[in-house]
């Protein structure tokens, strides 16, 4: 079901995600203290190449990680197989990449 290639892609994306999630949680805890507003979020992120890179990498890694993870769950719990299974994994990957990429552009540009 899962070969070593998918396994390594999921573990490498996990290693990329781990420090980014720590940063994301820290940002959330700091940002939520004074209440969230569009102005506050955009004031932090707009025009920042660093936040753009941070969340751009986050979206890329999470798209890989979630696509492989959901593929495993779909096989093991929903008995999805073969072409349908691959299609699901690619659809999750592409969907998260597009939606996430759009969200990053929305808050950074």
């Amino acid at each position: 079901m899962t070969d070593i290639r998918l396994y390594m892609l999921q573990r490498i994306s996990a290693m990329v995600l781990a420090p980014l999630i720590v940063g994301h949680i820290a940002t959330m805890i700091v940002a939520v203290q004074n209440g969230l507003s569009a102005g506050e979020i955009l004031g932090r992120t707009q025009g920042s190449i660093w936040w753009g890179l941070f969340y751009g990498l986050f979206v890329a890694a999470v798209s890989v990680h979630a696509a492989i993870g959901l593929r495993t769950v779909a096989f093991e719990w929903l008995k999805l197989k073969g072409r349908a299974l691959d299609l699901l994994a690619w659809a999750v990957f592409a969907g998260l990449l597009l939606l996430g990429g759009r969200a990053v552009m929305a808050v950074v540009l």
């Binding site: 079901m1 899962t2 070969d3 070593i4 290639r5 396994y7 390594m8 096989f75 093991e76």
Partner: protein, 242 residues
């Protein structure tokens, strides 16, 4: 020699590959009684047609494993005292394997996976060569030694939820065997073995539930062995070998 007049209520699964159900038997309770003693008592006194499997009765041969009150156990060394709940036992064939009849599971898929996982030793020397000198102190040999006490009882295989969800997964015992050979300095089949455990049915499927280690009667940790295989196979993949 009944020391305790109590009786044990024992439900035994009876049937074959087409289906079956539990049949209850009353079995006299004895001091120091194993689950295999109970099954043997039923076969000798109540149900001569009962099919089950055992050989050595001392925890060496690995042939008597069954599902006891929902968990796989080596029955010859599992005391009733330790597993009976309120004087009740429920005994079934091993999970994750086809049933032949009653308590006898078909272990052919289990052993076929040993071969599929590269579990065959590939010698690099002949009988004319001097014996290899292997120091038991090397980390490599220590890693192999940690897994070689496996008795092929299939308790880990029956306990593995990954096998239950991914029926073609090679499973904890076969992969544990492969890991002992990966660490065997005398073996010459490493590339083939790593390729065998890297595929879609291989080590990457393991979720580290560690039910195998929890229930292994010899206290082995197939999860630790599979983690080693994941590292070896991952390294080979990074080098472009897989």
């Amino acid at each position: 020699m009944t020391q305790d007049a109590d009786t044990l209520t024992v439900e035994v699964w009876r049937g074959d590959a087409r289906g079956g159900g539990y049949v209850a038997y009353d079995v006299p309770r004895r001091e120091s009684q194993t689950v295999l003693d109970v099954v043997t008592w039923i076969q000798q006194n109540a149900e001569p047609a009962l099919a089950y499997r055992f050989a050595c009765r001392v925890g060496m041969c690995g042939s008597c494993a069954m599902t006891v009150n929902g968990a796989p156990r080596w029955t010859c060394r599992t005391h009733v005292r330790r597993v009976a709940k309120a004087g009740r036992l429920r005994i079934a064939p091993l999970r994750n394997l086809p049933v032949i009849r009653d308590l006898a599971a078909d272990l052919a898929p289990f052993f076929n996976k040993w071969t599929a996982a590269g579990g065959t030793f590939a010698p690099t020397a002949t009988r004319d060569d001097p014996p290899a000198e292997i120091s038991p102190e090397t980390p490599q040999r220590a890693a192999a030694d940690a897994g070689i006490e496996c008795i092929n009882c299939a308790v880990c295989y029956a306990a593995c939820d990954t096998v239950a969800m991914v029926p073609d997964y090679l499973g904890p015992a076969a992969l544990n065997r492969a890991w002992t050979l990966v660490n065997d300095a005398r073996d010459g089949g490493q590339a083939e073995r790593i390729a065998a455990v890297s595929g879609g049915n291989g080590c990457a499927n393991c979720h580290s539930h560690q039910s195998c280690a929890e229930l292994c009667p010899n206290g082995l940790s197939p999860t630790a062995a599979i983690a080693g295989l994941k590292r070896a196979a991952g390294r080979a993949w990074l080098r472009g070998g897989a």
